[in-house]
C-alpha cells in the first residue's frame, strides 16, 4: 500500500512538471509578435487632434478625403444592387457598379467575366485608372451597407500615398486578410501596388490554382502581402470594430444573449462603417436610422461637416 501511495505521488509530481513544461512551450511558440503588431489596429484621429486644426485645414481635409466606391454586383443580387444604388452608394464621391453581366434594369460596368477573382482584378484596375483625383477606394458587394462619412472620418489624416488596407481583419493560418463582407478600404498607394503586382503571374495569379481555389478576399490579401501591404483592423477609440460582416439585427441579437443588461452599449460602435448581410428592406431602415432619425436636442459638435447628396430624399 505504501509503495502504491509512493508511486502515485511520484506520478503526480512528474505529471505536474510535464504540464508546466508543455505550457511553457505553448506560450513561447507564438513568439515575438514583431512587425505584424505595429500596423494591426487602425483608429480614427482623436477629437483633440482635430480641434488643433484651423478651419481652412479642416476644409482641405474634407475635400481631400474623397472615396471611390467599387461595388461588385451580379444579376443574382439585383435587389441588393438596386438598394445599394438607392441608398448608401449615393454618399460616395464616385460610385461605380461592376457586374459580371449587364442587366437591363440597372446601369453598371459590364466586365464580362464570370470568375470572381478575375472580375475583382479588372474592377480594381479600372478604378485605379479612372480615379481622377480620388485617393481612397472602398470595395464591397451590394449586400454590405456602408456609412461613407464614418469611413472618411477613419482615414481623415491618413496619407493615401502610403499603403493602407483596412477593414475587418481575420486570420487564416499565417495570412491576415480583410473580410469581404465587411467592406475593404484601400488607399491610392495600395491600389497602385496591386495593379503593379497583378502583372506578376507567379505571386498574384489571374486564375488562381485550379486545384484549390482561395476566396477573393484571401487572394487579394496574398497579392497585397507580396507588395508589402498588410491588413489593418479598423476600430473606434474604444476598440470596437468599425467594420462588421454581420447585420445590425444579428449583432444586436448576439448582444441580447451575451450582455442582456447592456445590450446596445456593448453591441456596436456609434461610428460603425459597415454592416454585412443586410436584407434590402433593412437597408432602407438603416438609411433612415443613420441619416435621419435622431433625438431632438442632442448635438455632436463634430469638427467636420459633410453635406447631404443632391437628388436624394431618403437621407
Amino acid at each position: 500500500m505504501m509503495s502504491e501511495g509512493c508511486s502515485f505521488m511520484k506520478g503526480m509530481f512528474l505529471g505536474g512538471i510535464f504540464c508546466l513544461v508543455m505550457s511553457l512551450f505553448g506560450t513561447f511558440s507564438p513568439g515575438p509578435q514583431g512587425d505584424g503588431h505595429l500596423h494591426h489596429h487602425l483608429k480614427p484621429v482623436s477629437k483633440d487632434e482635430l480641434q488643433k486644426l484651423s478651419e481652412a485645414q479642416m476644409y482641405d481635409l474634407t475635400q481631400q478625403v474623397r472615396v471611390y466606391c467599387v461595388i461588385m454586383v451580379t444579376p443574382k443580387l439585383l435587389v441588393y444592387w438596386a438598394t445599394a444604388n438607392d441608398t448608401w452608394s449615393k454618399h460616395c464621391d464616385k460610385s461605380v457598379f461592376y457586374t459580371s453581366e449587364s442587366s437591363k434594369a440597372l446601369e453598371a460596368l459590364d466586365l464580362q467575366e464570370d470568375d470572381e477573382w478575375a472580375r475583382l482584378r479588372k474592377a480594381i484596375t479600372h478604378a485605379y485608372e479612372n480615379a481622377g483625383d480620388l485617393r481612397w477606394f472602398f470595395v464591397a458587394r451590394p449586400t454590405t451597407f456602408a456609412i461613407i462619412e464614418n469611413l472618411k472620418y477613419l482615414v481623415l489624416e491618413k496619407d493615401p500615398s502610403q499603403p493602407f488596407y483596412i477593414g475587418r481583419t481575420e486570420k487564416s493560418g499565417e495570412l491576415e486578410y480583410v473580410e469581404y463582407d465587411g467592406g475593404i478600404v484601400l488607399s491610392y498607394e495600395a491600389m497602385k501596388r496591386l495593379v503593379e503586382i497583378f502583372k506578376d503571374e507567379e505571386k498574384c495569379p489571374a486564375r488562381g490554382h485550379a486545384l484549390w481555389k482561395m476566396s477573393e478576399e484571401k487572394q487579394l490579401a496574398t497579392c497585397l502581402k507580396y507588395s508589402g501591404v498588410f491588413a489593418e483592423n479598423g476600430e473606434d477609440a474604444q476598440g470596437k470594430s468599425l467594420f462588421n460582416k454581420k447585420s445590425v439585427t444579428s449583432m444586436i441579437s448576439d448582444s441580447m444573449g451575451k450582455n442582456p443588461n447592456d445590450v446596445v452599449e456593448s453591441c456596436c460602435s456609434d461610428l460603425a462603417i459597415t454592416f454585412g448581410g443586410m436584407p434590402a428592406g433593412q437597408m432602407q431602415v438603416m438609411m433612415y436610422g443613420v441619416y435621419r432619425l435622431r433625438p431632438y436636442g442632442h448635438d455632436f459638435h463634430d469638427s467636420l461637416t459633410f453635406l447631404p447628396p443632391k437628388d436624394s430624399d431618403n437621407d
Binding site: 442632442h298 453635406l307 431618403n314
Partner: protein, 434 residues
C-alpha cells in the same frame, strides 16, 4: 521499483531483459503501483493544467480585453442610483442618459421644462418577454415611468389595476391607469403618455412637439385617425399623450358620468370621451407635415406599399405618404416593435450616426427654450442646394404658430364645434401654402 530499474540498466544486451525484469516485477508484485503511478501522473497533469489556466490565462485575457466587461457590479449600481430611483411603483429618472462626447444641453432643458410621465400598458405574462426591454430602452428618457398591469408586481415594479387581462379589458385598464396617474403623480409631470409594451417612443422628440404647447391647454396628440369621432381619435398602439388639463377633464368626465365604459376599444373610447370633454385632438406632424406617431414598424412605413383596400387608407386623418417622406426625422413612435427591434431602434436613434453629417431637416427651436446660444459652428462649408430646405421649414413654422394661436383662443372659450371649424380652416391654410 525505480531503484530496481536503475540497478539493472547497464548492459545494452540486457535492456530487453531489463524491461522484462521490470515488467515482471511490476506485473507480479507492483501492477498496482504502476497503475497508481499512471493515475498519479494523470491527476498531476490535470490539476496543474486547471491551476495554470485559472491563474495565467485569465490574467492575459483580462489585459487583452481592456477591462471593459470586467468592471465589478458595484460602480454600475451606483450609476443606476444616480440616474434613476424607485418610488413605490414608479421609476423616477433624475436625468437624461447621454452619449459620450455629445452636447445634450437642449435635451436637458426640455427634460426640465416639458415633464412627461410615461405609462406602459402591459400584463403579467409580458413582463419578462416585452416590458423588461421597454424598461431597458426608451422609458429611461421619460421623467416618470409606470408599468400598468392587471396585477401588482413589487419587484418589476408594476401597478396592479385590479382588472383582468385581454383585449376586452383594454379600456378598463386605461381608465384606471389614467385615474391612478392623476391621483398619484398629477404634480410630477405636465404631460401623460400612454404606450403599449410593443411601442417604441423617442421621448426627446415628443418633448420637441409638446414644447409648443402648455400643460393647461386641453389637448392631446398621437397618430390621428378620422372615423367614429368628429375630430378623430388617436391610435392606441402608436401611443398618445394628454396634457394635464386633458387628463383632468378625462377623470372629471368619469366623475360626472359624462364618460362611461362604452366599448373595450380603448383608443376610440378615449377619443370619444375627450371630445365630449372639450379636449382638442392636436396635429402632431412636424413642420414639413410629416407624421411623427406611427402605427407600424419603420420598415413598413418606409418601404411598404399599402394595398388600396387596406383599412389604413380610410382611417388616417391626414394624407398618407408612402416611402421616405412617410416619417419625420423627429419621429416619436412606432408600433408592433418586438424586443430585437426595440434595441435596434435605440441603437439607431441614440447611438449610430454619420460623423459630421448635416441633416437635411433642420427643425426650428421651440419657443419655450432660451434663445439659442451664440456658439459659431467651427465649419461653415458653403451651402448650395439645401438652403431651400431652411426657407420652407421656417415658413411652415410661421404658419403653424399663427394657426395655433387662433386655435387656442377659440378652443378655450368654446366647445368642440368651433374647434372643428378652426380645424378645417387650418387644413385649408396648409393647402393654400402648398
Amino acid at each position: 521499483m525505480t531503484f530496481a530499474l536503475l540497478k539493472t540498466t547497464g548492459d545494452v544486451k540486457d535492456t530487453t531483459s531489463m524491461f522484462y525484469t521490470v515488467y515482471e516485477l511490476d506485473t507480479m508484485k507492483g501492477g498496482n503501483s504502476r497503475c497508481a503511478f499512471s493515475l498519479g501522473f494523470l491527476v498531476g497533469t490535470c490539476t496543474l493544467y486547471v491551476f495554470l489556466r485559472q491563474v495565467w490565462f485569465e490574467e492575459s485575457f483580462s489585459w487583452q480585453r481592456d477591462g471593459k466587461n470586467l468592471t465589478p457590479p458595484g460602480p454600475e449600481l451606483n450609476n443606476n442610483n444616480l440616474t434613476q430611483r424607485v418610488d413605490g411603483s414608479a421609476l423616477i429618472n433624475l436625468k437624461l442618459p447621454h452619449q459620450s462626447g455629445e452636447d445634450g444641453h437642449v435635451a436637458d432643458e426640455l427634460f426640465r421644462n416639458v415633464r412627461i410621465l410615461c405609462w406602459v400598458m402591459t400584463g403579467p405574462s409580458n413582463l419578462q418577454s416585452k416590458a423588461c426591454h421597454v424598461k431597458a430602452t426608451w422609458t429611461r428618457h421619460c421623467n416618470v415611468v409606470l408599468f400598468m398591469s392587471s396585477e401588482e408586481d413589487r419587484s418589476f415594479p408594476t401597478v396592479g389595476l385590479g382588472t383582468g387581462e385581454g383585449r376586452d379589458q383594454l379600456y378598463w385598464k386605461t381608465i384606471r391607469a389614467f385615474h391612478y396617474v392623476l391621483k398619484n403623480h398629477g404634480n410630477d409631470a405636465d404631460w401623460f403618455l400612454k404606450a403599449d409594451d410593443d411601442t417604441f417612443v423617442v421621448v426627446d422628440n415628443l418633448r420637441w412637439i409638446l414644447s409648443n404647447y402648455t400643460a393647461d391647454q386641453p389637448i392631446y396628440f398621437g397618430k390621428r385617425f378620422k372615423p367614429y369621432a368628429k375630430q378623430g381619435y388617436m391610435s392606441g398602439g402608436a401611443g398618445y399623450v394628454l396634457s394635464k388639463e386633458a387628463l383632468r377633464r378625462f377623470v372629471e368626465g368619469f366623475n360626472t358620468k359624462v364618460c362611461t365604459h362604452t366599448t373595450p376599444v380603448e383608443d376610440l373610447a378615449m377619443g370619444q370621451c375627450l371630445e365630449k370633454m372639450g379636449v382638442l385632438a392636436g396635429d402632431s406632424r412636424d413642420t414639413m407635415l410629416r407624421e411623427t406617431f406611427h402605427p407600424f414598424i419603420p420598415e413598413h412605413h418606409l418601404t411598404g406599399k399599402f394595398s388600396k383596400t387596406f383599412w389604413y387608407w380610410n382611417y388616417c386623418f391626414y394624407p398618407i405618404v408612402e416611402g421616405p417622406q412617410c416619417c419625420s426625422d423627429l419621429a416619436v413612435s412606432f408600433h408592433y416593435v418586438d424586443p430585437l427591434l426595440m434595441y435596434t431602434l435605440e441603437y439607431y436613434t441614440y447611438h449610430l450616426r454619420a460623423y459630421g453629417y448635416r441633416h437635411r431637416y433642420q427643425p426650428p427651436e421651440p419657443a419655450v427654450l432660451d434663445p439659442p446660444s451664440q456658439t459659431v459652428k467651427p465649419t461653415e462649408v458653403p451651402q448650395t442646394t439645401e438652403e431651400h430646405v431652411y426657407k420652407k421649414s421656417s415658413n411652415a413654422v410661421k404658419l403653424r404658430t399663427e394657426a395655433r394661436k387662433t386655435f387656442q383662443t377659440e378652443k378655450l372659450t368654446n366647445g368642440t364645434q368651433k374647434g372643428n371649424s378652426m380645424d378645417s380652416s387650418l387644413t385649408s391654410r396648409h393647402q393654400s401654402q402648398e
